[in-house]
Amino acid sequence: MRGIPAINLQFLTGDGLRYGIGPAIQGTLILIGLTSAIGIPIGIMTGVYLAEYGTNKYASWIRSINDILTGFPSIIVGITAYSLIVVGLTGTFSPIAGAVALAFIMIPIIARTTEESLKLVPNSVREASMALGIHRWRTIISVILPSAKSGLITGTILAVARIAGETAPIMLTILGNTYFFQGLGKAMDALPLRIFASSRSHLQVEQTQAWGAALVLILIVLALNIGVRLASRGRYKR
């Protein structure tokens, strides 16, 4: 969108006192890392279950709930993580709470894409592996997952791109400030929060900061998306 000439080295690395967005970039990266650590394994395993054992009633319920969760208002997830973790468990705003909230958003997306890409693995591959006397669980881990690898990576990256821009849930869980990372138990900043907070200011310098932060965020998200599209070109042609 509107590229704004706010960006220079000091802007990217400076702390909040000099209207830099260093802490925000760092916070977003930390959040992406933590969320992925929680969300990717759970999401992929859910997807594996749905794809490989997903013909019973239980699985079709899980599948429907998953679909419904993908259209869930993100602010509600924020309230949940806030009440459960910020108020209930730790008593402070923390990146952990933010990551849990974002993982709630990430898991259904990854489960969905994992299921779809595992379905693309032809049945003959499964049968060939079973015919060699390999157990089903070994088949899934060592044969099916590797052959669906690029689909899994695509889905994961798209999910990461989605959560990188989520604002409402992290507003209620990591709060946002202008300092660099201070520990897993402390409030933290992130790019979407910085954009939101700065856009409400009347100071020209903060509005410029918001535009600059938006440009950085959109570059991250679009780079992830375009990278995935180029990498998977032709794979999902109908």
Partner: protein
């Protein structure tokens, strides 16, 4: 007795993990219900039908915000759906191949843009377009109609509705594109065969054949519009209390999500925090209803069996 083989253990483990989706849903519902018990016990039905939002007299009602949510989403559908259908029909039925692929990429890219960036753009750019080119003329010439009355500022219900319209386009367009591509070619050929023009084929046969899928797509878009938080919070003007009752398109309003995003941490009393969570519960119920409806519609059309689109 089930034997403890590697297979069974593995299956049990991932079956338990697959329950995460259900657990997330239950956790959310549980937190919202327990968190809002206080406000429902105090105000009862008054909480849904009331207009006040005043910690001083301990009176909270979410009616204006429910109406605000429905109104902004309604505007979004009114503006966004025709555009999205146009895009979907263009991509499937008309566009030459060289245009089709980049064009559908572009639409999907719109979906990837974070909502806070839409909000930023709405706040500093769209707001002034709406103010200068739509609201001022309408207000000057049609100001006697109640919905166009008031002093236009650009930070109001109309702008919020328009930004939502832009945000639902990718969702509605891509799902309706799938639905329209799923219409069998024999339908089109049959229609051409009895002498229908392209317009008539699309209007009477293609749209008609895919109507419940398209309806599902619209509902999905509605779900997205209703839950959208940041972009709306940034442009809607954020009125509270009786002032937030929508009477004109040109006045500041408030939706359920933006109410929560704005005030959640400014609660003065425990009752007020409970009221915010109650607003969340109302939002959850509305969105569940819409998502379930959309899910039923879309899956029925695409005939999902075991998750695979046949």
């Amino acid at each position: 007795m089930i034997k403890l083989t590697g297979d069974n253990i593995f299956k049990a483990i991932i079956a338990i993990i697959a329950a995460s989706a259900a657990i997330i849903l239950l956790l959310n519902t549980y937190v919202l219900v327990t968190g809002s018990a206080n406000i429902f016990a105090t105000s009862g039905f008054e909480f849904i039908s009331g207009k006040n939002w005043d910690p001083g007299i301990s009176s909270f009602g979410v009616l204006p915000y429910i109406l605000g949510t429905l109104l902004t989403s309604g505007i979004a559908l009114l503006v966004g759906v025709p555009l999205s259908l146009g895009i979907a029909i263009f991509i499937v039925e008309m566009a030459p191949k060289t245009v089709r692929v980049p064009f559908s990429y572009l639409v999907e890219m719109l979906a990837a843009v974070p909502s806070v960036i839409y909000g930023l753009w709405g706040l500093f750019v769209l707001r002034f377009w709406v103010l200068n080119y739509i609201e001022k003329p309408l207000n000057t010439y049609l100001g006697w109609i109640p919905i166009f009355s008031g002093t236009p500022t650009g930070l109001d219900i109309l702008t919020a509705g328009l930004i939502l319209a832009i945000m639902i386009i990718p969702t509605v367009a891509s799902v309706s594109r799938e639905v329209i591509s799923a219409v069998p070619n024999s339908i089109r050929e049959g229609a051409y065969g009895i002498g229908a023009t392209k317009w008539e084929v699309i209007r009477h046969w293609v749209i008609n054949y895919g109507r419940s899928g398209i309806f599902g797509a619209i509902i999905l878009g509605l779900g997205r519009a209703i839950g959208e938080t940041m972009a709306v919070t940034m442009v809607i003007g954020n009125a509270t209390g009786p002032k937030a009752m929508p009477t004109s398109l040109f006045q500041p309003g408030q939706t359920l999500p933006s109410l929560i995003a704005n005030g959640f941490f400014d609660s003065d009393t425990p009752l007020q925090s409970s009221a915010y969570i109650g607003a969340g519960l109302v939002l959850l119920l509305i969105s569940l209803l819409i998502n379930v409806a959309a899910h039923v519609m879309v899956t029925r059309v695409l005939k999902v069996k075991g998750g695979a689109v046949e």
